[in-house]
């Protein structure tokens, strides 16, 4: 199933937080490769290091030691602004709490990454409107988040993640704030994105959600406990 081109290649990375005199290992010598077109779930209980790993994969944070290559670029060597550029172009984030700008319309929210990438206003509007339509919100472009249901908000957030046509979509507990029916609809959307060839990484502690992925990576105490393909996937 997996395509041979690796997008994410991490080798022996560790993340250490210093709490006073104590060193806390959030990740211990973790190595992982994710290729283009994969549908991966990162699982683990809280404190397992999955959030740290997700921040690392999303270029929000850098490892204390080890090597991280993203699309062939060495992330360790990048400064804050170069990381911001990678996040802008290559990574689409979907958060548990949606994290939309409350006073901006759905369209403006989806446009925002394109503002930071410097796209012209006309092209931006068009692209954002198309992307909103692709997640089924063509009629909701002028609505503000508080005028939308939870599921619609998460669709706006997904459209915002997709609008730059990133290399990976990184979703952190994307159904955590939704009822189960709406959650299933959102997961159906991720499945659809995967079928269209997108690389999707889910971070979750729910088995039901993880089951949608084709590969499940389980973490515990900062280590990868298991890394298996998921036969029962959608």
């Amino acid at each position: 199933m997996t395509s041979p081109t690796p997008i994410i290649n991490i080798e022996h990375i560790s993340k250490i937080y210093e709490m006073g005199d104590e060193k806390v290992y959030a990740l211990r010598d973790v190595s992982l490769t994710i290729s283009k077109g994969e549908y991966v779930a990162l699982m683990g209980p809280s404190g397992s290091g999955k959030s740290t790993l997700m921040n690392m994969l999303g270029c929000l944070d850098t490892p204390t030691s080890g090597r991280y290559e993203f699309n062939g670029a060495n992330v360790n060597e990048l400064d804050d602004d170069e990381l911001a550029e990678i996040r802008n172009r290559e990574i689409g984030f979907v958060f548990q709490t949606f994290n939309l700008l409350p006073r901006a319309t759905a369209l403006s929210n989806v446009e925002l990454p394109l503002v930071y990438s410097g796209m012209k206003a006309d092209a931006r509007h068009r692209r954002a409107a198309e992307t909103l339509a692709s997640v089924g919100l063509a009629e909701r472009t002028g609505h503000k988040p508080n005028e939308l249901s939870g599921g619609q908000r998460q669709r706006v957030a997904i459209a915002r993640a997709l609008v730059t046509q990133p290399s990976i979509i990184l979703a952190d507990e994307p159904t955590g704030n939704l009822d189960s029916k709406t959650g299933q609809e959102i997961m159906a959307l991720f499945d659809e994105l995967y079928r269209q060839g997108n690389t999707v990484i889910l971070v979750t502690h729910e088995e039901d959600i993880a089951r949608h992925a084709r590969r499940i990576v389980r973490l515990r105490d900062g280590l990868i406990e298991s890394d298996k393909s998921n036969g029962a996937s959608a």
Binding site: L60, N99, V115
Partner: protein, 419 residues
């Protein structure tokens, strides 16, 4: 490079943020409002003084030079000037004979402590002995009646021309012409009233009476008095020629050896500019002090509210960073917001300043009877608005800098975790 899209986005966010917290924004900018009002008031006051001053010296005559024993503007050593020999009428006449450059020149003599009596009312003023030609200078321009003529001048007639304030005080009804007043017990017929000449700083000019030179001699005598020469250059371009000629001739007439300084002073209306400049400087110093103070207070307020804003929007900053905002973009966003806050303050300040300026001018003219203020515009000049707005922008940028940097340097992981 900052992209135009980001700037527009920043303005959109900033306007939204100021609008949502409108009351808080206006209160926050109180210091800036006071600062802007002060800048505008100070600028307007200085411009007003300049206008009044310009009016004053143009009324009295920009092309007038006075050769006198004394330096009128208070420059030079007082004791040295006191030791100078008086300028005699003979010396003045020699100068008048020989001078070629001026359009007009004439002797004048003065008694500072004259007592003018009308009925049982008396008024202290200064009496000037002048020739009929004085009526051809701007200082002798007549509002009512006429200046005395050459015949009255030569015959030492008992006539007098009085200043604006004298007429106003002694003849409040305005019927001074043809009346008689007494100086040194001698009745003199009023033939003319001089136009109001005194403006700011020059009020004494309206508290003068003019009599023919020879009449002055019979009233006060010439003994022990130093004459001065009133010289009308004709135009401003001729001033330096006339001045140089006057210096040369007077040195010759008064036998000043080449090694010695002039033993007389050349007084020009322009010399008073230095005094006007001093007053302007004091206003600047006081005004700048107050302005800087209020802007410091104002920028502390802005900085404080910007820190609050950064904290309130930590999560938003995290989201923006996650989707690709660079540090620069975040910093610009908050700088635009603090600048917009200050501009809001300036916008609030402009109508306040206009009301203050307009009512000050109106009160000065209509209630305090300060006529000089009538040449001052009751409106704020546009360039002052521009300067005040520019200052507000600078204050906004300065006050927003530290909060903006704080926002820009936030760690995205921690910012996203913030609730």
């Amino acid at each position: 490079m900052i992209r135009s899209g980001e700037i527009i986005e920043s303005f959109r966010i900033a306007i939204e943020s100021v609008r949502v917290n409108l009351m808080r924004s206006i209160l926050t900018t109180a210091g800036v409002v006071v600062g802007v009002v002060l800048v505008v008031l100070m600028g307007w006051t200085i411009k007003g003084l300049d206008a009044v001053w310009e009016q004053t010296i143009s009324i009295i005559g920009k092309d007038m030079i006075y050769v006198d024993k004394w330096n009128w503007t208070g420059g030079g050593n007082w004791r040295l000037m006191e030791a100078r020999k008086d300028i005699t009428l003979a010396q003045v006449e020699q100068y008048i004979d020989r001078a070629e450059a001026p359009e007009l020149c004439m002797p004048t003599v003065r008694s500072w402590g004259a007592n003018v009596v009308v009925g049982n009312q008396s008024l202290r003023c200064s009496a000037m002995g002048v020739t009929y030609e004085y009526g051809m200078t701007p200082a002798g321009e007549i509002a009512d009646g006429r200046f005395f003529n050459q015949i009255e001048d030569e015959q030492a007639a008992d006539v007098v021309v009085i200043g604006h304030n004298i007429a106003k005080t002694l003849f409040p009804g305005g019927n001074a012409l043809g009346k008689t007043l007494k100086i040194q017990q001698r009745p003199l017929r009023i033939v003319g009233v001089v136009e109001k000449r005194g403006f700011l700083f020059m009020d004494f000019i309206d508290n003068q009476v003019f009599v023919p030179l020879l009449t002055f001699r019979t009233l006060y005598g010439f003994q022990g008095r130093s004459f001065s020469i009133a010289i009308k250059a004709g135009n401003e371009a001729m001033l330096s020629v006339v001045r140089d000629e006057a210096v040369g001739l007077m040195r010759e007439i008064r036998n000043v050896p080449p090694s010695r300084d002039d033993d007389f002073s050349i007084n020009e209306m322009k010399a008073f500019d230095a005094q006007a400049a001093n007053i302007r400087l004091y206003i600047w110093i006081v005004g700048i002090g107050l302005t800087v103070l209020s802007f410091i207070v104002g920028s502390i307020g802005i900085m404080n509210i910007m820190f609050v804003s950064v904290t309130e929007r930590t999560k938003e900053i995290g989201v923006r960073k996650a989707i690709g905002a660079k540090r620069r973009s975040i910093a610009v966003q908050f700088l635009v917001e603090s600048t917009l806050l200050c501009l809001t303050g300036a916008l609030v300040a402009f109508p306040i300043s206009q009301i203050l300026v307009g009512s000050t001018q109106w009160l000065a003219v209509h209630v305090f009877d300060f006529e000089a203020a009538s040449v001052v515009s009751p409106f704020i000049p546009l360039d002052l608005l521009g300067i005040a707005a520019a200052v507000a922008v600078v204050v906004g940028l300065a006050a927003g800098l530290v909060p903006a940097l704080k926002a820009a340097m936030l760690n995205p992981v921690e910012a996203l975790r913030f609730e």
